[in-house]
Amino acid sequence: MSWETVIGLEVHVQLLTESKIFSATPTRYGASPNTQAGLIDLGYPGVLPVLNRRAVELAVRFGLAIGATVSRRSVFARKNYFYPDLPKGYQISQYDQPIVQGGALEIPLPEGIVKRVGITRAHLEEDAGKSVHDRFPEASGIDLNRAGTPLLEIVSEPDLRSPTQAVAYLKALHTLVRYLAISDGNLQEGSFRCDANLSVRPTGETRLGIRSEIKNLNSFRFVEQALRYEADRQVQLLEAGGQVVQETRLYDPDRRETRPLRSKEEAHDYRYFPDPDLLPLVLEETFIDEVRSALPELPTAKRERFQSAYGLGAYDAAVLTQSRDLADYYESAHRAGAPDSKLLANWILGEVLAKLNRDHLEIDQVPVPASMLALLLVRIADGTLSGPLAKTVFETLWAGEGSVDEIIDARGLRQVSDTGALEQVIEDTIAAHATQWTEYCAGRDKLLGFFVGQVMQATQGRANPQTLNALIQKRRERSG
């Protein structure tokens, strides 16, 4: 029997706010434990939450970007459970009236098709703190710096059909939230966390199978590994005549397996109810309009525009628009006068990305400004530099040693296109290699490369290859 995997994802995105969602405490990452936890975050007696306007704005931005319904009225609810890193004994979240409902995300699949993945909802909530179990031999520590950090929990429909699709969805979502500047999307720092619901069913079946929820998926690689393992486990279980149990499972990346965390019976009864400390969140049209008018161009639209406006292929456009900063870099260079949009794309996708990768840099840390790259390409177009010479100049620019023209002049890299100068070198070369020249004149065309190489060597690679080719061939005609 063949099986179909059904996956839905819940992604917690940490919102890029200065302060926490219900207090004025800063949200800076990496501070020493419990130094970014004020009385409100600590759940002191008598304190009250006050909603962060910026967090609402970012959630609305997301909702508009995925074509969702932005709720004019949403409600914060308390999710009640006891845990040492949950200071109030409840988490303020949204339950039956979330701020964002519906919408969809289009994800590019490897086969070149675009899949539309439904988004059920996205809601605002506060993060909990962190329990530290490996720091003290006899006790657990609690770090409440993270408590109260604003999160947007984005819940997808069970529309994904394979671990590969799940990863494609996550990557598209990751790109989108960074495009929208609602999150830094930093996976290592926990700004983008994923839980997955997975079930399997016989191909053709329309009802959903019993699902398990998998937690602790903190990299795209782990998501793929964990989902593959879990799908296999469920299929094996069913094929052996067993039953999947609805439960929460934890992924162990070291052993590459999922393990039960708690069963449905042990599941918490969170006793959700509207938080009486917070009034329903009512959004006015003017507020939503302001957020809408400030929306940046979205990845799909940008990709299409890169294809139509710059004549780029689908692949190049997709890679260049994967991050807003990279796309901006391309467009800045273009505006700065880079002459050939296709050549510019090749340079960025080739040289620039390779060097960023080599030096472990992000595009916003690129040492060669877009305007410099543009000038470099101008120098190729106007014949000053050959392709290989340009790469040498680029390397020097990357190291921060001057401007394009300074480097060309200082290191004598200017391409020699002056026919007189080149003819002299050609004559010297013919004199030194008379035998080969005779053979070449006799019709051994392959030797053209030999002579070009010799002249290049003599000019330290500065000879304009086109000019050189033409001159050598003309010289043979005269000899012949």
């Binding site: 002191y44 007696p45 009250l48 006050v50 308390r78 004994g89 006793r271 109810f273 009486p276």
Partner: protein, 479 residues
């Protein structure tokens, strides 16, 4: 003379007189409090200096006591619970801050039912408060310490909180004036929460005039409390002289039911005729859903409290059980040891009504009925300016009389609870004695119309002497 000094007299005194008044009250606390147990923590006047910019100073030198539910910077705040014994907050409640800035001098934190859950002050972990009118009787609750302290002349004014009647009921049983403002009028920031959608801070005082002077400083928007309203605060002191002439007062017929003692009903009818003689028009009003107040309240208030009190887990502050074997043991024992029986009962009820499968039947249904109750009030206020009736069905009952039967205890708040569910302002003024014990007349106003309450109460007190009656044994010079 000093005992009967009005707030405007106290705040107009010379510095020397202020010092002597302060000493006078501190001495009365020292001598008389042991009979009443009205204070959990007496406070040295130097112990809590105001910080920040000087405020209005309109209450300069006024000695005040705060219910031990308002957090006070550097001064123990227990909320009447073993759970918070020894807890010293690092910050002030908004109410405390504003009264500090107005120039009040904090002289003590008053006893109360544990976490404000109770109607007799018997659930306090620090022992019951006694009613100064009869030491074998309860003072009411949960602001019983504040009420007893003001009634016995240990302090001229005190703050309280009212979630289901916790200011008005003890004010009535102790023969003083108590106002619960509209929900949202006074910031809840720094008020230890019981039921957040109903909790509201107010004043217990000897007269409507004194209460108006104090509430004027407490009220007003606070950005730290999202449920506090942005409305301007009217001058309540100016409202005192408006009088009741021309006001339409609705007599809530439902309040005069079989549970009401006939003698109490007589005092209330007498009080209403005083208002009528002063020019008010009395109109009979029925609130159809009011009888559902008690059941609705005892679903919603426990639901909110079960969540509000979850933070007392023994982890960060408050009582922690010794030598826990694991996390569950730490939670269970810390909370079992830290909370008294009534608080535990309400946490259990609240947890139950919010549970999966019961939420719709209890919590959601109660919320719907709450709306019906509020609509009854709103409809009534289309034809009247105030509503009136008794504050409690009986005068103060005996200590221990109702502790064995929570339902009977809950019924003591039958006339006050509806007001909290509707979020309206209400006050209780002394309306005479029954068997030597005070009873209170309750007046209920429109949303944010505390002014009319003060106007009517001040007019009534200008025509009656009940608010000047002193409990035997606590007169001037006692102790």
């Amino acid at each position: 003379m000093k005992l009967r000094s009005r707030v405007p007299e106290l705040v107009a005194a010379t510095a020397r007189e202020t010092r002597s008044a302060l000493e006078y009250y501190r001495e009365r606390i020292r001598v008389l409090n042991p009979r009443l147990n009205a204070f959990i923590t007496p406070v040295d006047p130097q112990a809590h200096p105001a910080t920040g910019a000087p405020g209005t100073r309109r209450l300069a030198g006024l000695p005040i006591a705060h219910k031990d539910l308002f957090v006070t910077r550097g001064i123990p705040t227990t909320c009447g619970s073993r759970m918070l014994a020894g807890f010293v907050p690092p910050y002030d409640a908004c109410v405390v801050e504003r009264l500090d800035l107005a120039g009040c001098t904090l002289i003590g934190k008053t006893n109360m039912d544990e976490f404000a859950m109770g109607s007799s002050n018997e659930t306090s972990a620090f022992g019951p408060v006694r009613n100064p009118w009869n030491l074998e009787r309860v003072p009411g609750g949960s602001s019983g310490g504040s009420a007893a302290a003001v009634a016995a002349g240990l302090v001229p004014v005190a703050t309280g909180t009212d979630t289901g009647g916790s200011i008005r009921q003890p004010a009535a049983l102790c023969g003083i004036t108590g106002i619960k403002p509209s929900y949202g009028r006074v910031s809840r920031f720094g008020m230890i929460a019981f039921a957040s959608s109903m909790d509201q801070a107010g004043v217990l005082a000897r007269s409507a005039e004194d209460a108006a002077w104090v509430l004027r400083e407490m009220a007003g928007h606070d950005p730290r409390d999202s449920t506090s309203v942005g409305l301007p605060v009217p001058d309540y002191v100016a409202a005192l002289t408006r009088g009741v002439r021309g006001l339409r007062i609705g007599i809530v017929q439902n309040f005069f039911d079989e549970g009401l003692w006939p003698a109490v009903a007589d005092r209330i009818r007498e009080a209403l005729s005083v208002l009528e003689a002063a020019g008010a028009q009395l109109i009979d009003i029925t609130l159809p859903h009011l009888s559902l107040s008690v059941p609705v309240y005892y679903v919603l208030a426990p639901a909110e409290c079960s969540s509000n009190l979850a933070r007392y887990d023994g982890i960060r502050y408050g009582h922690r059980a010794r030598d826990p074997v694991d996390l569950t043991d730490l939670y269970c024992r810390s909370r079992s040891e830290g909370f008294g029986a009534e608080v535990q009962r309400r946490i259990l009820i609240g947890t139950y009504v919010l549970s999966h499968g019961y939420y719709d039947a209890y919590y959601l249904k109660a919320q719907r009925v709450r709306r019906l109750i509020r609509n009854d009030f709103l409809k009534a206020f289309e034809s009247v300016d105030l509503l009136a009736g008794p504050t409690t069905p009986t005068p103060a009952f005996r200590l221990g009389e109702k502790t064995a039967d929570p339902l009977t205890m809950y019924l003591n708040d039958i006339y006050t609870i509806g007001v909290n569910l509707a979020g309206l302002p209400a006050l209780s003024v002394p309306a005479g004695l029954v068997e030597g014990l005070p009873v209170g007349l309750q007046l209920i106003g429109r949303d944010f119309d505390e002014e009319t309450l003060f106007a009517a109460a001040a007019d009534f007190q200008g025509r009656t002497d009940w608010h000047r009656a002193e409990p035997p044994g606590f007169e001037e010079g006692s102790g």
